[in-house]
Symmetry: C2
Subunit: 330 residues, 2 copies
Protein backbone atom coordinates (compact mmCIF):
# COMPACT_ATOMS: atom_id res chain seq x y z
CA UNK A 1 0.00 0.00 0.00
CA UNK A 2 1.63 3.19 -1.13
CA UNK A 3 0.84 6.35 0.77
CA UNK A 4 0.89 9.91 -0.52
CA UNK A 5 4.02 11.91 0.31
CA UNK A 6 3.92 14.56 3.02
CA UNK A 7 2.67 18.02 2.16
CA UNK A 8 5.08 20.68 3.38
CA UNK A 9 4.76 24.31 4.42
CA UNK A 10 7.19 26.88 5.76
CA UNK A 11 6.31 29.76 8.10
CA UNK A 12 8.39 32.45 9.78
CA UNK A 13 8.31 33.78 13.31
CA UNK A 14 6.79 37.12 14.08
CA UNK A 15 7.50 39.54 16.90
CA UNK A 16 4.61 41.61 18.19
CA UNK A 17 5.06 45.39 18.35
CA UNK A 18 1.69 45.71 20.07
CA UNK A 19 1.61 42.63 22.24
CA UNK A 20 -0.97 39.90 22.67
CA UNK A 21 -1.19 39.29 26.41
CA UNK A 22 -4.25 37.53 27.77
CA UNK A 23 -6.96 35.25 26.49
CA UNK A 24 -10.66 36.05 26.60
CA UNK A 25 -11.52 32.47 25.58
CA UNK A 26 -9.07 29.77 26.59
CA UNK A 27 -10.49 27.06 24.34
CA UNK A 28 -10.76 29.08 21.13
CA UNK A 29 -7.76 31.30 21.98
CA UNK A 30 -9.68 34.51 21.48
CA UNK A 31 -7.38 37.25 22.81
CA UNK A 32 -8.28 40.06 25.18
CA UNK A 33 -6.81 42.60 22.77
CA UNK A 34 -5.89 42.93 19.11
CA UNK A 35 -2.17 42.92 18.32
CA UNK A 36 0.27 43.84 15.57
CA UNK A 37 3.52 42.18 14.58
CA UNK A 38 6.41 42.11 12.18
CA UNK A 39 7.16 38.77 10.54
CA UNK A 40 10.92 38.11 10.45
CA UNK A 41 13.00 36.51 7.71
CA UNK A 42 15.52 34.69 9.87
CA UNK A 43 13.65 32.22 12.04
CA UNK A 44 11.25 29.70 10.54
CA UNK A 45 9.66 26.28 10.82
CA UNK A 46 9.18 23.71 8.06
CA UNK A 47 6.45 21.17 8.65
CA UNK A 48 5.18 18.22 6.61
CA UNK A 49 1.84 16.52 7.19
CA UNK A 50 0.31 13.34 5.84
CA UNK A 51 -3.11 11.95 6.75
CA UNK A 52 -3.05 8.16 6.54
CA UNK A 53 -5.85 5.67 7.01
CA UNK A 54 -3.38 3.08 8.30
CA UNK A 55 -2.17 5.16 11.24
CA UNK A 56 -3.63 4.29 14.64
CA UNK A 57 -2.68 7.62 16.26
CA UNK A 58 -1.26 11.02 15.38
CA UNK A 59 2.53 11.04 15.23
CA UNK A 60 4.93 13.93 15.63
CA UNK A 61 8.61 14.15 14.73
CA UNK A 62 10.43 17.32 15.72
CA UNK A 63 13.94 17.67 14.32
CA UNK A 64 13.99 13.91 13.60
CA UNK A 65 12.95 12.98 17.14
CA UNK A 66 9.61 11.33 17.83
CA UNK A 67 7.86 13.30 20.56
CA UNK A 68 4.41 13.08 22.14
CA UNK A 69 1.65 14.88 20.25
CA UNK A 70 0.69 17.89 22.34
CA UNK A 71 -2.92 18.83 22.93
CA UNK A 72 -2.34 21.96 20.87
CA UNK A 73 -1.12 20.02 17.83
CA UNK A 74 -3.98 17.60 18.18
CA UNK A 75 -6.48 20.46 18.34
CA UNK A 76 -5.12 21.99 15.14
CA UNK A 77 -5.28 18.66 13.38
CA UNK A 78 -8.81 18.09 14.67
CA UNK A 79 -9.95 21.44 13.30
CA UNK A 80 -8.52 20.53 9.88
CA UNK A 81 -10.05 17.03 9.98
CA UNK A 82 -13.44 18.47 10.80
CA UNK A 83 -13.24 21.06 8.03
CA UNK A 84 -12.14 18.48 5.47
CA UNK A 85 -14.51 15.80 6.66
CA UNK A 86 -11.76 13.22 7.02
CA UNK A 87 -11.26 10.74 9.78
CA UNK A 88 -7.60 9.75 9.58
CA UNK A 89 -4.68 10.21 11.88
CA UNK A 90 -1.75 12.30 10.76
CA UNK A 91 2.01 11.98 10.62
CA UNK A 92 3.63 15.37 11.28
CA UNK A 93 7.32 16.02 10.61
CA UNK A 94 8.72 19.36 11.64
CA UNK A 95 12.06 21.17 11.51
CA UNK A 96 12.34 24.18 13.73
CA UNK A 97 14.88 26.86 12.90
CA UNK A 98 14.05 28.92 15.99
CA UNK A 99 15.45 28.63 19.53
CA UNK A 100 12.66 26.93 21.48
CA UNK A 101 10.46 28.56 24.11
CA UNK A 102 12.60 31.49 25.09
CA UNK A 103 10.48 34.34 23.85
CA UNK A 104 11.42 33.91 20.20
CA UNK A 105 7.98 32.75 19.16
CA UNK A 106 8.93 29.28 18.00
CA UNK A 107 5.30 28.27 18.41
CA UNK A 108 4.24 31.12 16.11
CA UNK A 109 6.03 29.74 13.08
CA UNK A 110 5.32 26.15 14.12
CA UNK A 111 1.53 26.37 14.16
CA UNK A 112 1.36 28.60 11.09
CA UNK A 113 3.31 25.94 9.17
CA UNK A 114 1.24 23.13 10.69
CA UNK A 115 -2.09 24.75 9.86
CA UNK A 116 -1.01 25.33 6.27
CA UNK A 117 0.56 21.93 5.67
CA UNK A 118 -2.25 20.04 7.38
CA UNK A 119 -5.06 21.79 5.57
CA UNK A 120 -3.35 21.33 2.20
CA UNK A 121 -2.62 17.68 3.01
CA UNK A 122 -6.31 17.25 3.79
CA UNK A 123 -7.17 18.58 0.36
CA UNK A 124 -8.35 21.99 1.53
CA UNK A 125 -7.42 25.17 -0.30
CA UNK A 126 -7.92 27.92 2.28
CA UNK A 127 -7.11 31.60 2.13
CA UNK A 128 -4.82 33.34 4.63
CA UNK A 129 -7.64 34.49 6.83
CA UNK A 130 -8.97 30.94 7.16
CA UNK A 131 -5.47 29.55 7.77
CA UNK A 132 -4.87 32.15 10.48
CA UNK A 133 -7.98 30.98 12.32
CA UNK A 134 -6.72 27.39 12.31
CA UNK A 135 -3.21 28.39 13.39
CA UNK A 136 -4.80 30.42 16.21
CA UNK A 137 -6.18 27.23 17.75
CA UNK A 138 -2.62 26.01 18.31
CA UNK A 139 -0.98 29.21 19.49
CA UNK A 140 -2.32 32.74 19.57
CA UNK A 141 0.74 34.42 18.12
CA UNK A 142 0.90 31.96 15.22
CA UNK A 143 -2.27 33.59 13.90
CA UNK A 144 -0.04 36.43 12.66
CA UNK A 145 2.69 34.23 11.14
CA UNK A 146 0.40 33.29 8.25
CA UNK A 147 1.22 36.65 6.67
CA UNK A 148 4.47 38.49 5.98
CA UNK A 149 5.51 42.02 6.95
CA UNK A 150 3.36 44.02 9.34
CA UNK A 151 0.35 41.96 10.38
CA UNK A 152 -2.66 42.71 12.56
CA UNK A 153 -4.49 40.05 14.53
CA UNK A 154 -8.05 41.22 14.92
CA UNK A 155 -8.91 39.98 18.38
CA UNK A 156 -12.58 39.55 17.65
CA UNK A 157 -15.01 37.79 19.93
CA UNK A 158 -15.59 34.46 18.17
CA UNK A 159 -13.79 31.92 16.05
CA UNK A 160 -15.02 33.64 12.89
CA UNK A 161 -14.00 37.16 13.93
CA UNK A 162 -10.57 36.42 15.39
CA UNK A 163 -8.08 36.32 12.49
CA UNK A 164 -5.01 37.96 11.01
CA UNK A 165 -4.74 40.45 8.19
CA UNK A 166 -1.66 41.87 6.45
CA UNK A 167 -1.13 45.57 7.09
CA UNK A 168 1.93 46.13 4.90
CA UNK A 169 3.62 43.38 2.88
CA UNK A 170 6.11 43.83 1.41
CA UNK A 171 7.27 46.28 4.05
CA UNK A 172 8.24 49.66 2.61
CA UNK A 173 9.52 51.08 5.91
CA UNK A 174 13.27 50.85 6.54
CA UNK A 175 13.10 48.65 9.64
CA UNK A 176 15.24 45.85 11.02
CA UNK A 177 15.06 43.79 14.15
CA UNK A 178 18.27 42.77 15.86
CA UNK A 179 17.66 39.76 18.05
CA UNK A 180 19.97 38.97 20.92
CA UNK A 181 19.60 35.32 21.81
CA UNK A 182 20.18 35.29 25.53
CA UNK A 183 18.93 32.00 26.73
CA UNK A 184 18.31 28.86 24.77
CA UNK A 185 16.84 27.12 27.77
CA UNK A 186 13.14 26.72 28.37
CA UNK A 187 11.46 29.56 30.19
CA UNK A 188 10.27 29.05 33.74
CA UNK A 189 6.71 30.20 33.22
CA UNK A 190 5.04 29.66 29.86
CA UNK A 191 3.43 32.56 28.05
CA UNK A 192 0.05 30.85 28.43
CA UNK A 193 0.38 30.54 32.18
CA UNK A 194 1.97 33.96 32.50
CA UNK A 195 -0.75 35.79 30.63
CA UNK A 196 -3.48 33.94 32.45
CA UNK A 197 -1.99 34.93 35.79
CA UNK A 198 -1.86 38.55 34.59
CA UNK A 199 -5.48 38.49 33.46
CA UNK A 200 -6.74 37.04 36.72
CA UNK A 201 -4.51 38.78 39.29
CA UNK A 202 -3.01 42.04 37.98
CA UNK A 203 -5.11 45.03 39.02
CA UNK A 204 -3.68 46.85 36.01
CA UNK A 205 -4.98 44.35 33.49
CA UNK A 206 -8.20 46.18 32.49
CA UNK A 207 -6.17 49.30 31.68
CA UNK A 208 -3.80 47.25 29.53
CA UNK A 209 -6.65 46.38 27.15
CA UNK A 210 -7.53 50.02 26.58
CA UNK A 211 -3.87 50.96 26.23
CA UNK A 212 -3.21 48.23 23.66
CA UNK A 213 -6.24 49.34 21.64
CA UNK A 214 -4.85 52.88 21.50
CA UNK A 215 -1.36 51.64 20.67
CA UNK A 216 -2.74 49.61 17.78
CA UNK A 217 -4.49 52.61 16.23
CA UNK A 218 -1.37 54.75 16.62
CA UNK A 219 1.15 52.22 15.34
CA UNK A 220 -0.90 51.52 12.21
CA UNK A 221 -0.98 55.24 11.52
CA UNK A 222 2.80 55.37 12.03
CA UNK A 223 3.31 52.46 9.63
CA UNK A 224 1.12 54.03 6.96
CA UNK A 225 2.96 57.33 7.40
CA UNK A 226 6.41 55.65 7.39
CA UNK A 227 7.29 57.10 10.82
CA UNK A 228 9.92 54.77 12.22
CA UNK A 229 10.36 56.80 15.40
CA UNK A 230 6.70 56.48 16.31
CA UNK A 231 6.70 52.77 15.55
CA UNK A 232 9.72 52.27 17.81
CA UNK A 233 8.42 54.36 20.69
CA UNK A 234 5.00 52.73 20.65
CA UNK A 235 6.56 49.25 20.48
CA UNK A 236 8.90 49.87 23.41
CA UNK A 237 6.33 51.38 25.76
CA UNK A 238 3.76 48.75 24.79
CA UNK A 239 6.22 45.94 25.56
CA UNK A 240 7.13 47.36 28.96
CA UNK A 241 3.47 47.84 29.82
CA UNK A 242 2.98 44.17 29.04
CA UNK A 243 5.88 43.26 31.31
CA UNK A 244 4.34 45.45 34.02
CA UNK A 245 1.51 42.93 34.00
CA UNK A 246 3.91 40.18 35.07
CA UNK A 247 5.42 42.22 37.91
CA UNK A 248 1.98 43.28 39.10
CA UNK A 249 0.53 39.76 39.11
CA UNK A 250 0.05 37.80 42.33
CA UNK A 251 2.45 36.16 42.79
CA UNK A 252 4.64 38.49 40.75
CA UNK A 253 7.01 37.15 38.13
CA UNK A 254 9.28 38.47 35.42
CA UNK A 255 10.83 37.31 32.17
CA UNK A 256 13.79 39.66 32.67
CA UNK A 257 17.20 38.24 33.37
CA UNK A 258 20.54 39.97 33.85
CA UNK A 259 21.30 39.87 30.13
CA UNK A 260 17.90 41.38 29.28
CA UNK A 261 18.79 44.36 31.46
CA UNK A 262 22.17 44.63 29.75
CA UNK A 263 20.55 44.84 26.29
CA UNK A 264 18.08 47.46 27.53
CA UNK A 265 20.94 49.49 28.98
CA UNK A 266 22.79 49.24 25.65
CA UNK A 267 19.72 50.64 23.89
CA UNK A 268 19.41 53.49 26.38
CA UNK A 269 23.11 54.24 26.02
CA UNK A 270 22.95 54.22 22.21
CA UNK A 271 19.91 56.48 22.17
CA UNK A 272 21.63 58.94 24.49
CA UNK A 273 24.39 59.01 21.90
CA UNK A 274 22.07 59.76 19.01
CA UNK A 275 21.77 56.20 17.66
CA UNK A 276 18.05 55.65 17.27
CA UNK A 277 16.86 52.22 18.40
CA UNK A 278 14.11 50.69 20.55
CA UNK A 279 13.66 47.39 22.33
CA UNK A 280 10.85 44.92 22.67
CA UNK A 281 10.65 41.72 24.65
CA UNK A 282 8.28 38.78 24.95
CA UNK A 283 7.67 35.90 27.32
CA UNK A 284 11.34 35.06 27.66
CA UNK A 285 14.62 36.88 28.33
CA UNK A 286 15.55 37.59 24.71
CA UNK A 287 15.46 41.25 23.74
CA UNK A 288 14.88 42.44 20.19
CA UNK A 289 16.08 45.83 18.97
CA UNK A 290 14.25 47.82 16.31
CA UNK A 291 16.47 50.00 14.15
CA UNK A 292 17.03 51.33 10.65
CA UNK A 293 19.73 50.29 8.16
CA UNK A 294 22.02 53.22 8.86
CA UNK A 295 22.46 52.22 12.51
CA UNK A 296 22.56 48.45 12.12
CA UNK A 297 26.34 48.09 12.21
CA UNK A 298 26.83 50.53 15.09
CA UNK A 299 24.30 48.65 17.23
CA UNK A 300 25.87 45.29 16.41
CA UNK A 301 29.29 46.65 17.40
CA UNK A 302 27.96 47.86 20.73
CA UNK A 303 26.22 44.55 21.43
CA UNK A 304 29.44 42.72 20.58
CA UNK A 305 30.98 44.29 23.69
CA UNK A 306 28.59 42.18 25.76
CA UNK A 307 27.52 39.16 23.69
CA UNK A 308 28.93 36.58 21.34
CA UNK A 309 28.65 37.44 17.64
CA UNK A 310 26.70 34.26 16.91
CA UNK A 311 24.02 35.32 19.41
CA UNK A 312 23.39 38.62 17.61
CA UNK A 313 21.08 38.09 14.66
CA UNK A 314 19.92 40.84 12.31
CA UNK A 315 16.45 40.16 10.90
CA UNK A 316 14.58 41.83 8.07
CA UNK A 317 10.85 41.72 7.44
CA UNK A 318 9.97 38.19 6.39
CA UNK A 319 7.38 36.52 4.18
CA UNK A 320 4.12 34.80 4.96
CA UNK A 321 3.54 31.08 4.99
CA UNK A 322 4.01 29.09 1.80
CA UNK A 323 3.76 25.51 0.59
CA UNK A 324 7.23 24.13 -0.15
CA UNK A 325 8.76 20.92 -1.43
CA UNK A 326 10.09 18.39 1.03
CA UNK A 327 13.18 20.08 2.54
CA UNK A 328 14.75 16.65 3.15
CA UNK A 329 15.09 16.13 -0.60
CA UNK A 330 18.32 17.70 -1.73
CA UNK B 1 30.87 85.76 71.75
CA UNK B 2 30.06 82.27 72.90
CA UNK B 3 27.46 80.32 70.95
CA UNK B 4 25.21 77.56 72.20
CA UNK B 5 26.36 74.03 71.41
CA UNK B 6 24.61 72.08 68.67
CA UNK B 7 21.42 70.21 69.50
CA UNK B 8 21.60 66.63 68.27
CA UNK B 9 19.04 64.05 67.20
CA UNK B 10 19.27 60.52 65.82
CA UNK B 11 16.78 58.89 63.47
CA UNK B 12 16.67 55.49 61.77
CA UNK B 13 15.78 54.54 58.22
CA UNK B 14 12.48 52.93 57.43
CA UNK B 15 11.48 50.62 54.60
CA UNK B 16 7.93 50.87 53.32
CA UNK B 17 5.87 47.68 53.15
CA UNK B 18 3.08 49.60 51.42
CA UNK B 19 4.99 52.03 49.24
CA UNK B 20 4.74 55.77 48.84
CA UNK B 21 4.97 56.40 45.09
CA UNK B 22 3.75 59.70 43.75
CA UNK B 23 3.11 63.19 45.06
CA UNK B 24 -0.25 64.93 44.93
CA UNK B 25 1.36 68.24 45.97
CA UNK B 26 4.99 68.75 44.97
CA UNK B 27 5.62 71.75 47.24
CA UNK B 28 4.11 70.35 50.44
CA UNK B 29 5.01 66.74 49.58
CA UNK B 30 1.48 65.47 50.04
CA UNK B 31 1.50 61.89 48.70
CA UNK B 32 -0.98 60.33 46.32
CA UNK B 33 -1.48 57.42 48.73
CA UNK B 34 -0.99 56.57 52.38
CA UNK B 35 1.88 54.20 53.16
CA UNK B 36 3.17 51.92 55.92
CA UNK B 37 6.73 51.12 56.91
CA UNK B 38 8.99 49.32 59.32
CA UNK B 39 11.68 51.41 60.98
CA UNK B 40 15.02 49.52 61.08
CA UNK B 41 17.62 49.41 63.81
CA UNK B 42 20.74 49.22 61.67
CA UNK B 43 20.88 52.33 59.50
CA UNK B 44 20.62 55.79 61.02
CA UNK B 45 21.59 59.44 60.79
CA UNK B 46 22.85 61.72 63.58
CA UNK B 47 22.38 65.42 63.00
CA UNK B 48 23.26 68.46 65.07
CA UNK B 49 21.77 71.91 64.49
CA UNK B 50 22.62 75.33 65.85
CA UNK B 51 20.88 78.60 64.96
CA UNK B 52 23.35 81.47 65.19
CA UNK B 53 22.79 85.19 64.70
CA UNK B 54 26.36 85.62 63.44
CA UNK B 55 25.97 83.24 60.49
CA UNK B 56 25.41 84.89 57.11
CA UNK B 57 24.01 81.73 55.47
CA UNK B 58 22.94 78.20 56.33
CA UNK B 59 25.85 75.76 56.49
CA UNK B 60 25.85 71.99 56.07
CA UNK B 61 28.54 69.46 56.94
CA UNK B 62 27.92 65.87 55.94
CA UNK B 63 30.40 63.37 57.34
CA UNK B 64 32.83 66.21 58.08
CA UNK B 65 32.64 67.61 54.55
CA UNK B 66 31.13 71.03 53.89
CA UNK B 67 28.53 70.64 51.16
CA UNK B 68 26.02 73.02 49.56
CA UNK B 69 22.74 73.39 51.43
CA UNK B 70 20.07 71.68 49.33
CA UNK B 71 16.71 73.28 48.73
CA UNK B 72 15.14 70.47 50.77
CA UNK B 73 17.31 71.17 53.82
CA UNK B 74 16.65 74.88 53.49
CA UNK B 75 12.90 74.25 53.31
CA UNK B 76 12.96 72.18 56.50
CA UNK B 77 14.96 74.85 58.29
CA UNK B 78 12.59 77.55 57.00
CA UNK B 79 9.58 75.69 58.35
CA UNK B 80 11.24 75.46 61.76
CA UNK B 81 12.29 79.13 61.70
CA UNK B 82 8.77 80.19 60.87
CA UNK B 83 7.27 78.03 63.61
CA UNK B 84 9.75 79.32 66.21
CA UNK B 85 9.66 82.92 65.01
CA UNK B 86 13.42 83.13 64.68
CA UNK B 87 15.37 84.75 61.91
CA UNK B 88 18.83 83.17 62.14
CA UNK B 89 20.80 80.96 59.83
CA UNK B 90 21.74 77.48 60.97
CA UNK B 91 24.82 75.34 61.11
CA UNK B 92 23.91 71.69 60.42
CA UNK B 93 26.34 68.84 61.09
CA UNK B 94 25.28 65.37 60.02
CA UNK B 95 26.71 61.86 60.13
CA UNK B 96 25.00 59.37 57.89
CA UNK B 97 25.25 55.67 58.68
CA UNK B 98 23.32 54.65 55.58
CA UNK B 99 24.57 54.00 52.03
CA UNK B 100 23.49 57.11 50.11
CA UNK B 101 20.75 57.25 47.49
CA UNK B 102 20.57 53.64 46.46
CA UNK B 103 17.13 52.79 47.71
CA UNK B 104 18.11 52.50 51.35
CA UNK B 105 16.21 55.58 52.40
CA UNK B 106 19.15 57.65 53.57
CA UNK B 107 17.00 60.74 53.16
CA UNK B 108 14.35 59.21 55.45
CA UNK B 109 16.60 59.11 58.48
CA UNK B 110 18.34 62.34 57.47
CA UNK B 111 15.28 64.57 57.43
CA UNK B 112 13.72 62.96 60.48
CA UNK B 113 16.90 63.73 62.41
CA UNK B 114 17.11 67.22 60.93
CA UNK B 115 13.50 68.11 61.76
CA UNK B 116 13.95 66.94 65.33
CA UNK B 117 17.34 68.56 65.97
CA UNK B 118 16.38 71.82 64.26
CA UNK B 119 13.09 72.24 66.07
CA UNK B 120 14.67 71.50 69.43
CA UNK B 121 17.59 73.85 68.65
CA UNK B 122 15.01 76.53 67.88
CA UNK B 123 13.48 76.04 71.31
CA UNK B 124 10.42 74.16 70.10
CA UNK B 125 9.07 71.11 71.89
CA UNK B 126 6.98 69.34 69.30
CA UNK B 127 5.23 66.00 69.42
CA UNK B 128 5.91 63.21 66.91
CA UNK B 129 3.00 64.14 64.71
CA UNK B 130 4.25 67.71 64.39
CA UNK B 131 7.82 66.56 63.78
CA UNK B 132 6.64 64.18 61.08
CA UNK B 133 4.99 67.08 59.23
CA UNK B 134 8.27 69.04 59.26
CA UNK B 135 10.34 66.04 58.17
CA UNK B 136 7.84 65.50 55.33
CA UNK B 137 8.81 68.85 53.82
CA UNK B 138 12.33 67.53 53.29
CA UNK B 139 11.56 64.01 52.07
CA UNK B 140 8.27 62.14 51.97
CA UNK B 141 9.55 58.88 53.41
CA UNK B 142 11.23 60.68 56.33
CA UNK B 143 7.73 61.42 57.64
CA UNK B 144 7.64 57.82 58.85
CA UNK B 145 11.14 57.76 60.39
CA UNK B 146 9.97 59.93 63.29
CA UNK B 147 8.45 56.81 64.84
CA UNK B 148 9.77 53.33 65.56
CA UNK B 149 8.34 49.95 64.56
CA UNK B 150 5.41 49.79 62.15
CA UNK B 151 4.41 53.30 61.11
CA UNK B 152 1.62 54.65 58.94
CA UNK B 153 1.92 57.86 56.97
CA UNK B 154 -1.57 59.24 56.58
CA UNK B 155 -1.43 60.76 53.12
CA UNK B 156 -3.98 63.44 53.87
CA UNK B 157 -4.73 66.34 51.60
CA UNK B 158 -3.05 69.25 53.37
CA UNK B 159 -0.05 70.07 55.51
CA UNK B 160 -2.12 69.50 58.64
CA UNK B 161 -3.57 66.15 57.60
CA UNK B 162 -0.44 64.54 56.14
CA UNK B 163 1.52 63.03 59.04
CA UNK B 164 2.83 59.80 60.50
CA UNK B 165 1.45 57.69 63.32
CA UNK B 166 2.91 54.63 65.03
CA UNK B 167 0.95 51.44 64.37
CA UNK B 168 2.94 49.05 66.57
CA UNK B 169 5.99 50.08 68.59
CA UNK B 170 7.61 48.15 70.06
CA UNK B 171 6.95 45.53 67.43
CA UNK B 172 5.54 42.29 68.84
CA UNK B 173 5.64 40.40 65.54
CA UNK B 174 8.67 38.19 64.93
CA UNK B 175 9.96 40.01 61.85
CA UNK B 176 13.40 40.81 60.49
CA UNK B 177 14.59 42.53 57.36
CA UNK B 178 17.72 41.27 55.66
CA UNK B 179 19.17 43.98 53.48
CA UNK B 180 21.48 43.13 50.63
CA UNK B 181 23.52 46.19 49.75
CA UNK B 182 23.99 45.85 46.02
CA UNK B 183 25.13 49.21 44.83
CA UNK B 184 26.63 52.03 46.82
CA UNK B 185 26.62 54.32 43.81
CA UNK B 186 24.00 56.98 43.22
CA UNK B 187 20.90 55.85 41.39
CA UNK B 188 20.34 56.99 37.82
CA UNK B 189 16.86 58.39 38.33
CA UNK B 190 15.90 59.85 41.70
CA UNK B 191 12.82 58.64 43.48
CA UNK B 192 11.30 62.12 43.11
CA UNK B 193 11.77 62.15 39.36
CA UNK B 194 10.82 58.50 39.03
CA UNK B 195 7.56 58.82 40.90
CA UNK B 196 6.63 61.99 39.08
CA UNK B 197 7.15 60.28 35.73
CA UNK B 198 4.95 57.41 36.93
CA UNK B 199 2.19 59.78 38.04
CA UNK B 200 2.16 61.69 34.77
CA UNK B 201 2.76 58.93 32.20
CA UNK B 202 1.84 55.46 33.51
CA UNK B 203 -1.69 54.50 32.46
CA UNK B 204 -1.76 52.18 35.47
CA UNK B 205 -1.16 54.93 37.99
CA UNK B 206 -4.80 55.57 38.99
CA UNK B 207 -5.24 51.88 39.80
CA UNK B 208 -2.11 51.93 41.96
CA UNK B 209 -3.74 54.42 44.32
CA UNK B 210 -6.75 52.19 44.88
CA UNK B 211 -4.54 49.12 45.24
CA UNK B 212 -2.29 50.79 47.81
CA UNK B 213 -5.33 51.86 49.83
CA UNK B 214 -6.52 48.25 49.95
CA UNK B 215 -3.05 46.96 50.77
CA UNK B 216 -2.83 49.41 53.68
CA UNK B 217 -6.09 48.20 55.22
CA UNK B 218 -5.06 44.57 54.83
CA UNK B 219 -1.50 44.89 56.11
CA UNK B 220 -2.65 46.73 59.24
CA UNK B 221 -5.08 43.92 59.92
CA UNK B 222 -2.25 41.41 59.40
CA UNK B 223 0.00 43.33 61.80
CA UNK B 224 -2.71 43.51 64.47
CA UNK B 225 -3.40 39.78 64.02
CA UNK B 226 0.31 38.87 64.04
CA UNK B 227 0.08 37.21 60.62
CA UNK B 228 3.61 37.33 59.24
CA UNK B 229 2.66 35.49 56.05
CA UNK B 230 0.06 38.07 55.14
CA UNK B 231 2.42 40.94 55.92
CA UNK B 232 5.07 39.40 53.65
CA UNK B 233 2.74 38.63 50.78
CA UNK B 234 1.16 42.07 50.81
CA UNK B 235 4.57 43.76 51.01
CA UNK B 236 5.99 41.79 48.08
CA UNK B 237 3.05 42.28 45.72
CA UNK B 238 2.74 45.93 46.69
CA UNK B 239 6.44 46.55 45.94
CA UNK B 240 6.24 44.87 42.54
CA UNK B 241 3.11 46.84 41.67
CA UNK B 242 5.06 49.98 42.46
CA UNK B 243 7.89 48.85 40.20
CA UNK B 244 5.31 48.13 37.47
CA UNK B 245 4.73 51.87 37.49
CA UNK B 246 8.34 52.47 36.43
CA UNK B 247 8.20 49.94 33.60
CA UNK B 248 4.88 51.30 32.39
CA UNK B 249 6.00 54.94 32.39
CA UNK B 250 6.89 56.76 29.16
CA UNK B 251 9.80 56.51 28.72
CA UNK B 252 9.98 53.31 30.76
CA UNK B 253 12.65 52.83 33.39
CA UNK B 254 13.57 50.36 36.09
CA UNK B 255 15.50 50.27 39.35
CA UNK B 256 16.28 46.57 38.84
CA UNK B 257 19.81 45.50 38.14
CA UNK B 258 21.29 42.04 37.67
CA UNK B 259 21.93 41.63 41.40
CA UNK B 260 18.35 42.62 42.24
CA UNK B 261 17.13 39.76 40.05
CA UNK B 262 19.57 37.40 41.77
CA UNK B 263 18.17 38.25 45.21
CA UNK B 264 14.60 37.82 43.97
CA UNK B 265 15.52 34.43 42.52
CA UNK B 266 17.10 33.45 45.84
CA UNK B 267 13.84 34.31 47.61
CA UNK B 268 11.79 32.30 45.10
CA UNK B 269 14.17 29.38 45.46
CA UNK B 270 14.04 29.49 49.27
CA UNK B 271 10.24 29.69 49.30
CA UNK B 272 10.01 26.70 46.97
CA UNK B 273 12.09 24.87 49.55
CA UNK B 274 9.81 25.78 52.44
CA UNK B 275 11.84 28.70 53.81
CA UNK B 276 9.34 31.50 54.19
CA UNK B 277 10.60 34.90 53.07
CA UNK B 278 9.47 37.83 50.94
CA UNK B 279 11.22 40.67 49.17
CA UNK B 280 10.64 44.36 48.84
CA UNK B 281 12.54 46.96 46.86
CA UNK B 282 12.58 50.74 46.58
CA UNK B 283 13.95 53.35 44.20
CA UNK B 284 17.31 51.66 43.89
CA UNK B 285 18.68 48.18 43.19
CA UNK B 286 18.94 47.02 46.82
CA UNK B 287 16.55 44.26 47.77
CA UNK B 288 15.33 43.71 51.31
CA UNK B 289 14.09 40.33 52.53
CA UNK B 290 11.39 39.94 55.17
CA UNK B 291 11.71 36.85 57.34
CA UNK B 292 11.28 35.44 60.82
CA UNK B 293 14.01 34.52 63.31
CA UNK B 294 13.90 30.80 62.61
CA UNK B 295 14.90 31.31 58.97
CA UNK B 296 17.37 34.15 59.36
CA UNK B 297 20.52 32.01 59.28
CA UNK B 298 19.36 29.83 56.40
CA UNK B 299 18.62 32.89 54.26
CA UNK B 300 21.97 34.49 55.09
CA UNK B 301 23.72 31.26 54.12
CA UNK B 302 21.95 31.18 50.77
CA UNK B 303 22.73 34.84 50.08
CA UNK B 304 26.36 34.21 50.96
CA UNK B 305 26.56 32.02 47.84
CA UNK B 306 26.08 35.17 45.77
CA UNK B 307 27.18 38.18 47.84
CA UNK B 308 29.91 39.27 50.22
CA UNK B 309 29.12 38.79 53.90
CA UNK B 310 29.63 42.49 54.65
CA UNK B 311 26.90 43.37 52.15
CA UNK B 312 24.32 41.21 53.93
CA UNK B 313 22.87 43.09 56.88
CA UNK B 314 20.21 41.70 59.21
CA UNK B 315 17.97 44.41 60.62
CA UNK B 316 15.45 44.32 63.43
CA UNK B 317 12.64 46.78 64.06
CA UNK B 318 14.20 50.05 65.13
CA UNK B 319 13.25 52.98 67.36
CA UNK B 320 11.84 56.38 66.58
CA UNK B 321 13.79 59.62 66.57
CA UNK B 322 15.41 60.84 69.77
CA UNK B 323 17.48 63.74 71.01
CA UNK B 324 21.03 62.58 71.78
CA UNK B 325 24.24 64.06 73.08
CA UNK B 326 26.91 65.18 70.62
CA UNK B 327 28.23 61.91 69.10
CA UNK B 328 31.62 63.53 68.51
CA UNK B 329 32.17 63.68 72.27
CA UNK B 330 33.62 60.41 73.41
Amino acid sequence: MKTEPLTWAQAHTNIALVKYWGKANLELIIPQNSSLSLTLDHFYTQTGVQFDEYLSADQFWLDDQSIPVSSKVKRCLDVVRELAGINQFAKVVSYNHVPNSAGLASSASAFAALATAASRAAGLHLDGKQLSRIARRGSGSSTRSIFGGFVEWHGGNSDATSYAEPIQDPVTMDIKMITVILNRSQKSISSSNGMQRSVTTSPYYPIWRDQAANDLINIKQAIYSNEFTNVGEIAETNAMRMHSLTLSADPSFTYFNADSLTVMNVVHHLRQNGIECYFTMDAGPNVKILCQSKNEQRIQDELANHFKPQDIVVCNPGPGVKVIRDPRLK
